[in-house]
Amino acid sequence: MWQLRVPCNCHAYALRLDLPHSTGRTVRDVHVPDGFINAPVSVAAGAVAVAGVAVALRGARRELDDRTAPLAGLTAAFVFAAQMLNFPVASGTSGHLLGGTLAAILVGPYTGVLCVSVVLLMQGLLFADGGLTALGVNIVNMALVTVLVGYGLFRLLLRVLPKSPASVAGASFTAAVVSVPCSAAVFTLVYAVGGTTDVSVGKVAAAMIGVHVLIGIGEALITAVTVSSVLAVRPDLVYGARDLVKPLELRRTGTRDGAPGGTPDRASGPAGDARTPEGPEPSGASA
């Protein structure tokens, strides 16, 4: 009897909690639509976006290899999924992850720009979210600005903080929390130059930055929790924290490099690299 009642209450409570802020109908995840920004400024933003993506494509080559390329694809998919999860920030207002800081920390800044850009492109093409003529504006605001600010601040903080997982979490949080209002500020700037409507820029700036400070807290929580989770399970897969795992890699590469350089009898190079389980595994393990 008791055991029956407890789950029932939980369920009812959960339902009641969910109802107020979810009609369940539309996941509104609205980026800058068509018609907010005039054509010349949209084109200019598009040119900046193209240039940014081109630089990112070049730089990403250094960040991506056979193992990190799939991780980057999965990170983009995760950012897409997380962007669907609008969370309430104030009365009648919600926010969602932008994801630039998160992607940059996980897979590198250049690849991070590409991750968010791919998400924005697919949202515009598949889900009619974010105007196609505003794609440049959206890439500038949500991919370029968030990665530049977020990842820049993250690396800066890690330089002064002690090398520990807690520092990585703290730096992720701070970087993400700052990146969102910066994105809002840049939108305001774009609006000031090319807005199609005649609204006081001061009012837009105050409202945009104000609400995005709150959204930034949500962004920061998601970013810090995600980065910390991956760091806990696979520290070697967090690009932004690769300094943390370096001592460990040095020790390992040290033993491995020692083998070919030292004794010729261990020059089972390819086999040693491939590390087939039937191969000379015991000798490697004993080192």
Binding site: G73, M122, F187, I215, D236
Partner: protein
């Protein structure tokens, strides 16, 4: 390469398992949890409506696409419609993004070597690889 083992196989498998878990989390978030997301307007939309920025907003040119507004046209159940759209989106982003990253990636190193090499000793190998990216 990782903290765990010295043999290649287990390390590789654990990376695959991590990737699978990561994908599963994304699918669950987009396919199931998204139903419970707030449907209030987001920051930009709210400010735009309050201040009147949106008076000249135009309809999206693809607003009649089969997945527009994160639903699947023809599926009436909103939970199913939104969930399917989320799963489709995760798949599409993974395919396009993953494909792009796979094409762009640095070649020439074995997967085992990739990350180790990236720490500094890789460039020696890089020019030898094909530059067909």
């Amino acid at each position: 390469m990782t903290t765990k083992t010295t043999a290649g196989r287990p390390v590789k498998r654990s990376t695959k398992r991590f990737f699978a878990a990561f994908l599963l989390v994304s699918l669950v978030l987009a396919g199931i949890v998204s139903y419970y997301a707030s449907s209030s307007p987001d920051g930009l939309e709210k400010v735009a409506a309050d201040k009147g920025i949106d008076s000249k907003e135009k309809d999206h040119s693809l607003k009649d696409s089969p997945f527009s507004d994160y639903g699947v046209k023809g599926v009436d159940d909103s939970r199913l419609s939104g969930g399917l759209a989320g799963v489709v989106g995760v798949g599409a982003v993974l395919l396009v993004g993953g494909g792009l990253f796979w094409v762009v990636r640095r070649r020439g190193g074995t997967p085992e070597h990739g990350r180790d090499g990236a720490q500094g000793s890789a460039p020696a190998r890089e020019p030898a690889g094909s530059e067909d990216a």
